[in-house]
């Protein structure tokens, strides 16, 4: 039992199960497989973003600019599509990812080369990226009728019964899982966050690793930019405003330590799903959607309190802690 309580991911699965049970008690159809698939699909973008944020937080940094990056990349993808409707969609997606990566590289370079604290860098780039959208679009909206059908259809197209959006998020989970567990870079993320000094002595370039983490979060934000804009079929300055906090919330709920070095892909995914279930359940169990913000705030505080207790109980066995994940 105590082992169960110490395992953050199992605890989170338990919490989601309890949540689902409570919702079912009020509104049984919610747990129908088709509906759960819809909830997953609705949470896909948050999952993709949380994966990127996780890599950054693991290295003791933070990326507050992800939502702004998403909005800017999404706007550029929409404008590309509106200006050249004939352009193949994969090229549009690739350019959104490329732009997102570039914006992530700017964050990473400022952190790496200039040693500016990450929170200051991304606070600054958050407002700059948002402002750039305004300059680019002149404050105008790109509406559904300006986008080509192929552009809007891709995330919705069904593949083996599930939308492409869901498949894409599953693909990203798999890729990031492989990156984290099977590559030197993935292990470096943990090493840098766990103990930067020790990382330097083992030959890891701390700055370069952080730069790589920002590139990853930028690339995933760019991909999400296209997905967001095509899914909701609209692009304007304020899309996903404030979403950066949801992304961090998903990570915190998923047990990723803000102090770096601790966290798993499963945790990030479950944290995002937890928020996704709440968001989708509130309207059907007759709780005002306005309550969502207060609920996610409370959940964040509870999650961080629970995680802090779990971390403290482990004591000072730092090496094993880093190995266990």
């Amino acid at each position: 039992m105590s082992k169960f309580l110490k395992n953050r991911e199992l605890l989170l699965v338990g919490a989601i199960a309890v949540l689902l049970a409570l919702i079912t008690w009020r509104f049984p159809p919610f747990v129908a497989p088709a509906n759960l698939a819809r909830v997953y699909n609705d949470t896909s973008i948050l999952i993709i973003l949380a994966l990127g944020q996780m890599a950054v937080i693991l290295t003791r940094c933070i990326d507050l600019s992800m939502a702004a990056n998403l909005a800017l990349s999404g706007m550029v993808a929409a404008m590309l599509n509106a200006a050249y409707p004939g352009l193949p969609i994969p090229i549009v997606i690739l350019s959104a990812i490329a732009l997102g990566t570039l914006l992530g590289m700017i964050n990473g370079a400022l952190v790496w080369k200039l040693d500016i604290p990450p929170i200051v860098v991304t606070l600054g780039t958050l407002t700059i990226y948002r402002g750039l959208i305004f300059l680019l679009s002149d404050g105008k909206w790109i509406n559904a009728h300006q986008m080509s059908d192929a552009f809007k259809a891709l995330p919705r197209d069904a593949l083996l019964g599930f939308p492409v959006l869901s498949w894409l998020s599953l693909l990203m989970i798999a890729l990031v899982f492989l990156l984290m567990s099977r590559t030197a870079l993935g292990r470096a993320f943990y090493a840098v966050g766990g103990n930067p000094h020790a990382a330097v002595y083992t030959g890891i370039d701390v700055g370069r690793t952080r730069f790589a983490a920002y590139c990853l979060s930028g690339a995933l934000a760019g991909l999400s930019g296209y997905l967001w804009v095509s899914r909701y079929a609209v692009a304007y300055v304020d899309i996903a405003a404030g979403f950066e906090l949801d992304i961090i919330a998903a990570c915190v709920i998923g047990g990723i330590s803000i102090a770096g070095g601790i966290g798993t892909v499963a945790g990030a995914v479950l944290g995002a799903l937890f928020l996704g279930v709440i968001k989708n359940a509130l309207p059907v169990i007759n709780i005002s959607p306005f309550a969502q913000m207060a609920i996610s705030g409370t959940v964040i505080i509870i999650a961080v309190a629970v995680n802090a207790r779990a971390e403290r109980r482990k004591g000072r066995v730092i090496l094993r802690k880093a190995e266990a994940v």
Partner: protein, 334 residues
């Protein structure tokens, strides 16, 4: 980060004199920037130098600056409070609710301050009592506090504040000096004295530089941090009174995004985001700079979001430039 540098620190043979240090300080650089912006504004617009116009310009930053003073102390002590804008929203909502119940100005002010204090106490308890990282706690309470105002207000708004209440945001103490600006000046002096001339202020620096060492030298770290969060909550309550009174209405989205502007103001003022250093005069100058830049741009009809690009660039460049400057100098010396 800094810890990856392995080069030994350069120790000078003799310390520079007071005057030389003052000249080279961050604050004097800010002062030069402030003067340049002031000059630029007065050249760009013939209306800028009018005393009433300058008085109007102060409304741009006074409310944020009031919070920035307390935030500076929190950041110097090595913590951060991202929930301040949400405290403004919750305090404003509580005051609006009290108006619907028929309460008059003194009660409204008391409610605004009390909500600020309670929110600050919640932050403080979670951070010092449970030992949680302040950045995550205040991201949580940021959602919680604003979420509560959304629950109470939904898409509605509270209006109908009593006439006497409007004095806090619209009234003048003497000639062109508004209540808000007077409050800003008084609080600047009070905070400067508290931070730079009292044991409490020294303790705040000590905690920010080395929390463990501070604890072992007998400083009550948890208590002082709790007081700082309480103070930030109180200042947010005060700012909420001013802002609500100035706008005359409350929506749940009131002061949205202000936490970032307040933090920008503090960092621009030369406070180290990692804690341990910074001054109140620096924050005052940063407040003036940000206020004048946004107001000057406003006179030139530059849209608000373009101003925010400028603020973002300012934030990054004021931190990056000294680093680049130091590096260039080191390269020249070798």
């Amino acid at each position: 980060m800094a810890e990856t540098h392995l080069t030994p620190r350069h120790i000078p043979d003799r310390l520079e004199g007071r005057g030389a240090r003052l000249l080279k300080s961050w604050e004097s650089l800010l002062l030069v920037v402030a003067c340049l912006i002031f000059l630029g504004n007065s050249l760009a617009s013939p209306y800028f130098l009018d005393p009433w116009n300058l008085s109007d310009a102060t409304f741009n930053f006074t409310e944020k600056a009031i919070i920035a003073f307390a935030m500076a102390l929190v950041i110097i002590s090595g913590e951060i409070d991202l929930s301040v804008a949400s405290i403004i929203a919750l305090a404003s909502t509580a005051m609006g609710y009290a108006v619907q119940l028929g309460f008059d100005t003194p009660v409204l002010v008391a409610i605004g301050l009390a909500v600020g204090l309670v929110c600050g106490a919640i932050n403080g308890l979670l951070i010092t009592g449970l030992g949680l990282p302040s950045i995550v706690v205040t991201i949580g309470t940021m959602s919680l506090f604003r979420g509560l105002s959304f629950i109470i207000l939904g898409d509605q708004a509270f209006t109908g504040y009593p006439d006497s209440f409007s004095w806090f945001g619209q009234g003048y103490v003497w000639w062109v000096f508004s209540f808000e600006f007077t409050l800003f000046v008084i609080l600047a002096v009070v905070y400067a004295i508290v931070l730079h001339k009292t044991n409490f202020g020294r303790a705040v620096y000590a905690i920010g530089n080395n929390q463990t060492a501070a604890l072992f030298s007998g400083i009550r770290v948890a208590r002082i941090k709790f007081i700082l969060f309480l103070l930030t909550g109180l200042m947010a309550g005060l700012a909420s009174i001013c802002l609500t009174s100035r706008l005359g209405s409350t929506r749940p989205s009131i002061a949205l995004g202000w936490e970032l502007e307040v933090v920008t103001m503090v960092v621009l003022g030369g406070v180290n985001i990692l804690g341990g250093s910074g001054t109140i005069p620096g924050v005052v100058l940063a407040a003036l700079i940000m206020g004048m830049v946004t107001f000057g741009f406003g006179l030139l009809n530059v849209p608000g979001i373009v101003m925010s690009i400028f603020i973002g660039l300012l934030l990054i460049s004021v931190i990056a430039l000294p680093i680049l400057w130091r590096r260039a100098r080191r390269r020249l010396q070798h």
